[in-house]
Symmetry: C2
């Protein structure tokens, strides 16, 4: 059997595929390729379009199909990934197969001194739900994701998912710190980004954050923290981190109004693609993961701005057309207009302008 030596330019992305539109692998692949990554693409579903349209056709692939794919890649020496990315997975059994794959990659003998974990950087986006809609995967997915955490390098839950993974609520800065601590300590995750959190006014003030941006638009707050995790005999050791030692960074950026699909998927992809753990940090002393997130957010803001410009044009030209249509059609039309303008945003992906900067929370 061919050896699966990690290739520094090769990512495996395991997500859903839609024929039309940009979610899952369709949202992740082109940006990563533009950044020069050789992306191997495993699709967990093939749907006509994302489910936000309200109607769609296609197939969810079962775990035996994915097992077959991974074992064939293995036989052909194609499990050469230095990076791996997972997003939405359609069932607990699929998560289980992916967990088996990650364990295999982590156990590779790379011969490198620096990395005892098979030379793999794995970004796990634990797609399960959000604050608005609650849980939208089967409940048995949650324990599988919890079991997977100690094999991940980076995780990017939203507030709802961070709460579900830890079984804890985030109601203020203090509870936020304890959620981050639990993800590092109990679950042994080196890098955590909570993609957006809600904090009470008093806490926002303490950390120098605002409800709204300077221009009046509502502000989103993203936070992250890192923790060195020792690996002994292939097993991650629980770190001795205490809550006071936790260093948290945050980024505030404008919330783009309305619902867009594929934004979280693209954020995760860009963060992984922009993460360079070996980078020497500049004067601002931020971590490589915070710098990756800054770039990912900058690209996304550019893509969303291109997308909104087109939506505005399309909606200006709508006229009275909408009134003649029933609710289902109006929803479908809106979804179609709101697809991310991905191929039109090459420049924003390749060389984004960083407007919103990460900074350390000192409170």
């Amino acid at each position: 059997m061919a050896a699966n030596i990690p290739d520094p330019t090769r990512i495996l992305s395991i997500q859903s595929h839609v024929v039309s539109g940009y979610v899952g692998n369709r949202s992740a692949t082109f940006p990563l390729q533009l950044l020069g990554w050789d992306v191997d693409v495993t699709n967990t579903v093939q749907f006509s379009n994302h489910t936000g349209y309200g109607r769609w056709g296609g197939l969810r692939f079962d775990s035996s199909h994915l097992s077959d794919i991974f074992s064939s890649l293995d036989k052909n020496g194609l499990l050469r990934y230095s990076r791996m990315l997972t997003g939405y997975m359609p069932s607990a059994s699929v998560v289980e197969v992916v967990l088996g794959l990650v364990k295999k990659l982590r156990s590779r003998q790379t011969g490198g001194e620096q990395d005892e974990e098979g030379g793999l950087v794995y970004l796990l986006d634990p797609v399960m739900g959000d604050m608005g809609r609650g849980m939208y995967v089967s409940p048995d997915v949650l324990p599988m994701y919890q079991a997977m955490l100690e094999y991940a390098t980076i995780i990017t839950p939203n507030q709802f998912e961070a709460q579900a993974l830890t079984g804890m609520q985030i109601t203020d800065l203090d509870s936020l710190k304890h959620v981050l601590l639990k993800l590092h300590k109990k679950h042994k995750v080196p890098h955590v980004i909570i993609t957006s959190v809600e904090l009470p006014d008093a806490d926002l003030e303490r950390i120098g954050a605002q409800r709204n941006m300077a221009d009046g638009r509502p502000a989103m707050l993203q936070v992250g923290s890192s923790c060195e995790i020792e690996v002994r005999g292939g097993e991650r050791q629980e770190p001795t981190l205490e809550v006071d030692e936790l260093r948290i960074w945050s980024i505030q950026f404008p919330e783009v109004q309305g619902y867009f699909s594929g934004v979280g998927d693209m954020f995760a992809a860009l963060t992984l693609g922009r993460f360079h753990p070996e980078t020497k940090i500049a004067a601002d002393d931020l971590t490589p993961i915070a710098k990756a997130s800054e770039l990912a957010i900058a690209s996304l803001q550019g893509i969303l701005s291109n997308t909104c410009r087109v939506i505005d044009e399309l909606e200006r030209n709508l006229g009275g057309e909408e009134k003649e249509k029933d609710e289902v059609e109006v929803r479908v039309d809106r979804m179609r207009r709101r697809e991310l303008r991905v191929v039109q945003s090459k420049k924003e992906i390749e060389s984004p302008t960083i407007v919103y900067r990460a900074k350390w929370i000192t409170a």
Copy 2:
């Protein structure tokens, strides 16, 4: 139901998908996206890797899955394609479903005066076999492709496929002309490119072509021709073209030694992406399809050159490693090395240098 109004930037590509490597949709999508096309991607299979490796895992999707996808796209007003591309299809029943889709797109009422055929440019690459290996699809695919020809705008058969479609042999310039004539006349195809043909020395000389390039490398000969096809009441009419009236262009370019997968798929994609039928032709008086092929060949030569450079490096470092391996492993290793360097060739795709030019055959 939402209207399927053609969008000038939107392509539907129906081909195979491999997790690792660059054939089918994996070879077509990134280049088309780089050129600014919004590519909707329908996968006909999901395999771990291309079949040239000798072993692979995965699934062929059946025609009912594809029907489901297309009818859902239709319901959601997503059949907005101004371009369509098909490559390898796994069975006659899949070709049949795709034929149904093309007929539906051709019957759209676009309101445009210029195009009576639903505003669709459809490139059909009739992937069936080649001169070396013969037929590699089920024989019942052939009549389905023949039935599809009169719905295609451009076809890109190799010599073997052109012969199979017409039931005629290409042995010299004269028989080549009759094959092209039959494709235009009986099968009513507006644009034909035969991606490579073998001609006897005497005919090469008559058309000013060579066996070898100036630098000694063996030369490939590609030929193409176009014919205006009148459409009445939605049906293409048989043109009155005679063999003497046929104008054929040719391009000669160096054959890259050895076997590469996905080259034909990428040629078809780039030709479709570069085809601008509305373009005014410059002083050289060549057709838009010949100009598209020039650009496609230029990009491909660049990609192949990047690929060969990496292969050379990898093979220099092989040392005695190969000797210890069995035949299966040696083949797999070779296939892996020979995957096209697609993401590394952004420049060659976006702004290729045209070295090999099309010219009219005057003999």
